[in-house]
Amino acid sequence: MSLVAFRRLALRLAVGAAVALFSVAASAADAGSTVDTVAKQVIDIIKTKTGADRQAAIRQIMQANFDLPYMGQAALGTHWNQATEAQRTRFLAAVETAEARAYSERFGQYSGQTLSVGKVTARANGVSVVDSRLNQTTGQPIKLEWELRDRGQGLRITDVKVEGVSLLMTRRSDFNSYIQSNGGTVEPLIKELEARAAR
């Protein structure tokens, strides 16, 4: 191989690598900034709103940034396939209410927490994992990991792991066990979730 041809090849490889790196970095940066924006918005809501206002605002943020249908489907596991279209819609609505309420109550009063976003890992299957730390005014920071997927609506959050505990996996375990001890159908679970949402 002549020196010129070799140089050309090397140049092409370098350009190719740079392009590949850049595109990975771009999607990684997106995932990181999505998490960062969501955290800032949530902190802002907790500072300024309470009660029903807060719940509605949190719900809006979840609808805009979380892939709720995916999360619901994953939480239901194999039972999703057995559910009718109407059951799925009711289930997703009830879960959304439950999650929005859980989040708005969970935070309580704002006491100076901040979220610092760390490493972002882009996976080959389109999942981005964002590491972050929730810094508290007292005590150790809490380790939070976010999973983001792009299923045609842009990057959406599909799971949050708190100190290694995936909220989605825990929910899934919870729901599946409830279904199994209540006749193996989704109807009792949906009824229970709806009853809780109405409370």
Partner: protein, 268 residues
């Protein structure tokens, strides 16, 4: 006297090594091809749920109220000192585990912490060592077994609901027992033939109250937002322990962790 203590400790350590290897072998034998996404293995669910309901009654009428009072009424510095004292008493067990985990440097740091805090830190009431840059680590035999078991850390053998202590599994239950057996403070009182039962009881009791007071928020949240509290706690406990073990396995397992995430048997 000291020599005999050392010999006893070594003998105990050797025994525990054998037991640990046996436990690891036992654990390695069960549930292959586990991606960690499957449900937690719980073959004795009925007795476990029974124990869980007893634990909850005790928790509601006794433990939780005490923990709430402890958290809200005892001044913060006092709570911190109690925490430091209990942590300091636990350092030798952590050091032993770090040796078994093949981390002599961390074990040395832990022992240095123990010596500094026991003397300058007034019997462990003040954590002077952290201010001197000796970082605190906490290890237990459950994590040590998990490190060597060679299975997904989500697989800790069968799930086990222990009385008073709460969620555990074959791995962590075995670990708890070994930790108790190798604890130099327990061995010391035994060998010196001093009746320290009251002190020991106070120590374990305080550990339980302190631990409960720090988990009030998380457990209340989990209970309120789950339809089957037992199952939700089982999942959360297993995941949390797996995360701790994965951190010990360090970089070598980063790939495995990412593959596990890809393999999650979620509906796609």
């Amino acid at each position: 006297m000291l020599e005999s203590v050392a010999v006893t400790m070594m003998r105990k350590a050797r025994h525990s090594l054998v037991a640990m290897t046996a436990a690891a072998a036992l654990l390695g034998g069960c549930a292959t091809g586990d991606t960690g996404a499957a449900e937690v293995w719980d073959p004795i669910e009925t007795p476990n749920r029974f124990m869980f309901s007893i634990n909850r009654v005790v928790d509601i009428i006794a433990l939780r109220p005490v923990a709430v009072i402890y958290r809200d009424w005892v001044p913060e510095p006092a709570q911190k000192s109690v925490r430091n004292l209990l942590d300091n008493l636990g350092e030798p067990v952590t050091a032993i585990n770090e040796v078994v985990q093949g981390e002599p440097h961390r074990a040395a740091t832990t022992m240095a912490r123990f010596l500094v805090n026991s003397t300058i830190g007034v019997a462990g009431l003040f954590d002077v060592a952290t201010k001197l840059g000796l970082e605190r680590t906490k290890e237990d035999m459950g994590k040590t077994i998990g490190l060597y078991a060679g299975v997904e850390p989500e697989n800790g053998g069968f799930y086990l609901m222990l009385p008073a202590i709460g969620p555990s599994n074959a791995r962590d239950g075995t670990g708890l027992m070994i930790d108790y057996l190798v604890d130099p403070f327990r061995i010391l009182t035994f060998n010196l033939a001093i009746d320290w039962t009251a002190y020991q009881a106070a120590r374990y009791g305080m550990n339980v109250i302190d631990y409960r007071s720090r988990t009030i928020f998380a457990l209340d949240d989990l209970e309120k937002n789950s339809v089957d509290y037992y199952a939700a706690l089982r999942s959360a406990y297993t995941q949390n322990r797996a995360e701790l073990i994965r951190q010990r396995r360090e970089k070598t397992d980063t790939k495995a962790e990412l593959e596990r995430r890809d393999n999650l048997a979620l509906v796609r």
